[in-house]
Amino acid sequence: MLEKVKDWSDEFYESFKPIAMGFVNEAEKCLQCGKCTGQCPAAAVTPSYNPRKIIRDLVFGNVKRVLSSVELWQCFFCSGCYSVCPMDINFPFFVFMFRLAAMNEGYGWEDVKQLEGYAEKSYLKDGITVSTFERNPYVLDTVGDIGKIRAEAGLPPERKVSARGVAEINMISDLSGMTAFMKQIGGVELLDCKSCTDEQAKRCKRKPMPSKVGKVKTHYRFYNYGEPGGKKHAQAG
């Protein structure tokens, strides 16, 4: 599709650099050499995901395309791109910062919604993010009670963070606004594939269609850098 080239905004990138606590830097040094994509585990299994293209859009100021893309949420956070980058561009941090920005614009809350439980139910309640809770029946049958295994290994049956420790991270969370942030996410159930209308199903390429996540009005994301991939779509197409 013909796309009108807009004047890119030098100021955006320049003013973005210092603000993001210095994490995001040096994207303008990108050579577009493609070494990042070449070794990317996500790109190897997703046709449209391409770190190089996202950096290019970022530097040229096509922020809207990055923010509204599904691809932004497909990064594996493996840091492989950073480890091979000839210009030391820390791309995973770009993704991290841009996911925050995308959420501010109303994209991607349905992804975060699925992870929010780890923070609210585990991290803030127990001080530990991954709990002993197990959903997989096979694992439950094979492993049984982790507490018993822990006791056999000479550890207390349950790893506990002291009440003081939990109170401290709760205060950090409250004071830095993380708790309020999570409250925005919680609450409203997502629509899933079974309950969505035909109209919604037509537009939905992969993700369940959210109407609203928590108190946030969400927007639809698109595959902005290519076609959706995966075995499922190969069959559907």
């Binding site: 955006f12 709760n170 205060m171 927007h219 698109f222």
Partner: protein, 80 residues
């Protein structure tokens, strides 16, 4: 129905999104402590103080350090 983001969000330029993003980050990563932000922190501190005796003691130790910041925040607001 929109097939891609250009159709769906075509009216809105990247510049507007970029400006919103910038002001969001500016606020998020600001190290300044204006009164409004300090007031937002109060409930969390109260919650922490209510947790137990030891937390209350630690928080009280912090009060002398907090007073000048409070003063600066309040006066800053008056000037601005």
């Amino acid at each position: 129905m929109a097939e891609n983001f250009m159709e769906e969000y075509g009216q809105e330029t990247s510049r507007e999104a970029a400006e919103r993003t910038l002001s969001y980050f500016r606020e998020l990563f600001s190290l300044e402590m204006p009164l409004g932000r300090m007031m937002k922190m109060m409930p969390g501190m109260v919650k922490f103080a209510m947790h137990g005796k030891d937390t209350r003691v630690d928080l009280l130790k912090f009060v002398p350090q907090m007073m000048p910041m409070m003063k600066a925040a309040v006066s800053g607001k008056r000037e601005g």
